[in-house]
Symmetry: C2
Subunit: 778 residues, 2 copies
Amino acid sequence: MSKKTKISCFLVRRNRNILRFLQFVFLLLFIPQLKAQNSLNYVDFVNPFIGTQRMGHTFPGATVPFGMVQLSPDTDTISYEKAGNYNPEVYAYCAGYQYDDPTIVGFSHTHFSGTGHSDLGDILLMPISGKLKINPGTAKNPESGYRSRFDHDDETAVPNYYQVKLKDYDINAELTATTRAGFHRYTFSDTSSNYLILDLMHGIYNYDDKNVWTFIRVENDTLITGYRQTSGWARTRTVYFALVLNTPLLNYGHEKYDSSVYNGFYRKFDESQNFPEIAGRKIRMWLEPKLPKNKELLIKIGLSSVSAKAALNNLETEIPHWDFDRIVLEGQQSWNQELSKIKAETLTDDDQVVFYTALYHSFLSPITYMDADGRYRGLDQEIHQAEGFTNYTIFSLWDTYRALHPLFNLIQPDRSHDMAESMLAHFDQSVHPMLPVWSHYANENWCMIGYHSVSVLADAIVKGTYRGDLKRALNAAATTAQYPLYDGLNYYMQLGYVPEDKSSNAVSKTLEYAYDDWCIAQIAEQANDSETKSAFERRSFNFRNQFNAASGYMHPRLANGTFRSQFDPFDTHGQGFIEGNAWNYGFYVPHQIPEMIELMGGKTAVDAKLDSLFTLELSDEHIAKNEDITRDGIIGLYVHGNEPGHHIPYLFNYTDSPEKTQERVRMIQKTMYANAPDGLCGNDDCGQMSAWYIFSALGFYPVCPGSDEYVIGSPSVKSALVDLGNGKSLQILAKNQSEKNIYVKKVQLNGKPVADFKLSHQALLQGGLLEFEMTERF
Amino acid sequence: MSKKTKISCFLVRRNRNILRFLQFVFLLLFIPQLKAQNSLNYVDFVNPFIGTQRMGHTFPGATVPFGMVQLSPDTDTISYEKAGNYNPEVYAYCAGYQYDDPTIVGFSHTHFSGTGHSDLGDILLMPISGKLKINPGTAKNPESGYRSRFDHDDETAVPNYYQVKLKDYDINAELTATTRAGFHRYTFSDTSSNYLILDLMHGIYNYDDKNVWTFIRVENDTLITGYRQTSGWARTRTVYFALVLNTPLLNYGHEKYDSSVYNGFYRKFDESQNFPEIAGRKIRMWLEPKLPKNKELLIKIGLSSVSAKAALNNLETEIPHWDFDRIVLEGQQSWNQELSKIKAETLTDDDQVVFYTALYHSFLSPITYMDADGRYRGLDQEIHQAEGFTNYTIFSLWDTYRALHPLFNLIQPDRSHDMAESMLAHFDQSVHPMLPVWSHYANENWCMIGYHSVSVLADAIVKGTYRGDLKRALNAAATTAQYPLYDGLNYYMQLGYVPEDKSSNAVSKTLEYAYDDWCIAQIAEQANDSETKSAFERRSFNFRNQFNAASGYMHPRLANGTFRSQFDPFDTHGQGFIEGNAWNYGFYVPHQIPEMIELMGGKTAVDAKLDSLFTLELSDEHIAKNEDITRDGIIGLYVHGNEPGHHIPYLFNYTDSPEKTQERVRMIQKTMYANAPDGLCGNDDCGQMSAWYIFSALGFYPVCPGSDEYVIGSPSVKSALVDLGNGKSLQILAKNQSEKNIYVKKVQLNGKPVADFKLSHQALLQGGLLEFEMTERF
């Protein structure tokens, strides 16, 4: 990270609002409840810019933990210049913000964090001065539109607060948020000709056809309501909003960029200005507010999936006043509460920022997806009431079942229960009898492979965070795994593997289905259903059918039973794998690692193979074919930027070389995470990359979610106090911790040696002291 | 009407289902409650084909009184061949059916009755045999699509039952309905290759851009749910549906005619067939049901404005069984109950059919617009609950305030109250502070001019059918009349007239605003608000500002106060009038007829002018410029096909020539209404043309709705027993009635002579005997 952008401390700021922020810090430090809780404010250790450069796909804007509104600047979306469904330039804007961009288009209210596909960017606001411009313009010619240049020197991002000076207009823009509402403070320098752009065409991953319908009502001179309906990554999605200003509108108007016709306009009305009923496919509005004397324009926007009235209710419930600073502070208190669930001490200040930013990124999704009154729009497009749980959406499950949900089971047990309930509600609502694959508002994206909801359920059930009906969970899991329409499952059920000539990425599917089936068996065991348990245990061995003893690899197989002759284990495309190749994806048998090792020739052979994995060089051609990662995210054939390898560094524990795990895990922590805008080596993937870091920094990792087991790695923290959410705490202590002392000489849990480098969740849940003794040589 | 199509009696039918229908009739005649009520079944006197040829724009399909579902065959919509927003060929299909067409496209569930603009035609079903065709094809080449030829010989239309044989497939199609659900019975002749087309692109007044979104779920093998969202005449409209079959689907599929993308289709699913989750802009589905042994495919479809679940609830509430014939019968019982509110005896059988079909057409709109549980989608797109009233929509108020709503105040007092509540709910929901102008589902169409809701309210209040809060009604009316954005109202309020150089059709507007203002004064009087009363009384004299003593006409006037020099009183275009000219529209001062007569030179002059109106010939050029009418609808300059003249025949009563009123009124009844498909001389306009007939046939007419007064014309019935809905009945008797005896020699109400040819509503409400003595010479 460059010095210029370093924001490791709340006090480091270079904008003219320093006085206001000192005031926050003052309040923050001296409010009694916070002081009683802890003298440290963990918010200070978060740098939301981490991952905003290149591949991280994080956003720097304002949000509370798991907030539905994630209000952030969009530097571009490419939509204005190019269209197309898979445009690499679109890809860069998954979170709407790229650190190297020179301009900001405006501030929109919904963002994914770290994804490799996108959507959202709803309800963009942009304040401007001078000539009214209703088009966004381009980064090359910002004057051609309403966007503005900006400098990182004039920009601040901390949890629940974002600030930037819009250079072209000399406007200071500040953002904060509650769970369901955004709050904007725009300080103008001029009192003449100030406008607010409300762009309802703007969206991330936009293309010409994405906007389906837009409906706006100017209810009175300080309230605008409406909705934006899109068909993007979510096929059928509507976001309702209610926007309130602190000052009356003098004038307003809109431009419509489609041919839809309104009968009222034929003869009755002058719709060009101050006409309160607006609808069409593509709409941009301009608002001319009466500028208050202090030149501060305040705008609050509530969102909802239910209706505009519900959006207004969300807004009025969460921000019933005009005190912007109070909302900043309350959100930061909330962040501090969440972040302080792990009180970590690291070797360096940068490590501290990397750790807490990873924890911050782990708490950005899934997002709360229900109104203040518990209602939300389900997959059936009906309005549902969440009874007794908080409903969540944005489950990027192929990514997050690995470490993020296990992390929740460790430090967010209540949310973990609610997420399980949310997935079961999804199951109930879906016309497919399936748990979510990639849940996105009231939609299923079907992104990536597997049915890893069952892993998340199994992990929550085995670890006791899911408190609901086990029969219901088992039924949902088993039904999901037997839906023949889904992604080669019919072949899998017939043949015991997915044939590559019938379904692409077949090897990855077989391996993941087999693991998922093992998870279902775990649920069945907890639910005392031995018949289902046996059935899915049988299926869980299907990975055997994919192994080719002749090639020594998990090898693409055809429907006729033969293994495919054309086969390149280094290639990540067309070889039966997705976001991986036979070399690295082939190790994906987390539930039967000893048998996998046997299949592959025994411990010595696999140990050597793992060594090769971290040392072989990928050719440039093979690198270029990798998705979502750059050379930075690769060590030999190990690709940390993609998820299928996340457990691999821990596999040396099973080949009796735990020191190699410790080496690799520590190396990855050190080289692939940094306190810098490009500090993530690949997409953060809704927190999975960050959750990997948190576990690894604490010294253990859930190699097989759905089991009770963690595997020891190499902690990078000096100490950490983990609030287990059950009234108990786990104190982690790494004695002799240093940059050089990367090996674990000894591990003790409450004084007892951990001989096999494995920990059980149940044991950790008792709290106490987990003590590592670090050393320079193993 | 040709003999071929005459359906004056229920027993006249030529299709092969005669046995089934005899069974209905049998049931109908012998069920005890009906028998006790009346030995006559008024359903027998209704010919739904009246108005289906040329300009009537009625539909022959199945509906219950004021039903939300109006399930009817569409013979075309022109959308497949031509697009455009005002295409004369589109215009012919306002109700979806033209009698002269050779083919039927299918059966859709929503239709306007008699309008001059259109929309709707939602959720089209069409059964086919043989080769699967998913496009509708064209009338010229029916083989090119799924449509079928048909003959009127194989077609039946009676209240709540429609039947046609689809020649190309040898399928007998039968339709019936409840308030919120349609019921289809398709009897196939073949057992091989039978399909059902579910066309969600089909719509009336379709154009390329009308379909906004479509969402479909095949919930199981007998249930399909979803919605169709359109932007047509209603800008933002969604119809939800739930479709249930009596037999499982063997296969199904869809075609999508737009570029919207579904991620699930990239690699996971085969969407071409049997994939239950369908969405896009333009969708047509095909269903292949397992044909039952008796070859009868039954389909029930519920509709809702709230959600698909609500649509299913509507369906299950209203048709909880599979007894098609029972639904036909129950709907006909309901029709008989409504129609028997006037038990009329006419001179001829054809007159009887004309009378009861007019009553039938009067009860087709407004439609019930709420679910079985009282919920509906309002103008704000929020879900509302109708508390204590039935919510209605489709208020074509410029047409219907004249006679249809006054008819409701006479024989449908409860519905009249509910309609007033519906209009007030519209006011509460609209972002414009206005009562409805043309209410269309959750939309305002702004069709035509004036704010005639206030007339409907005034008439209901003055006549005592509205039982709600008068202050609320007055506030809504007065606020509506002062909304400066609306249609020249700002000028009207400033200048006392609408200037033609600022707002088109300005003279019509001034005249109607002035009348409407008088109505508001009447509401104010009832609400004891003397200040508002005075203010609107003053405004009600604004018609004076439009009269040019120099030309002798209501004359277009400019903002500078001068009357426009270019002026053709015969021209219906560009002369300050809409659907009329200075000659006929100039008589529109219903609330101050004596003063109008004075302005125009006194009784003698006006009497002569009225004579001329009925005898002058319009040039062909002027005829061609008339909207919505043909030469058949014109007597001299009198245009019965358009509404602004509907009171004119009654004006001779004010020039002391009541015999001329009697002559003209009887002539219009005789020549402009007939028991034939082309039996309406112009658009029925949601029942206004028909309601004019009912009043006129009974012998009196509400020249000035909002007053308590009726004016005597010339009854054509021999007798009529009118159920006043207050426990009392009015017996109307026309002594010496005959085709020649068109003059009223004497009128007596309960034995007292009616000297001035005027009747008060209050007097009629007491019930008793209204006796006309008819004579051949006055």
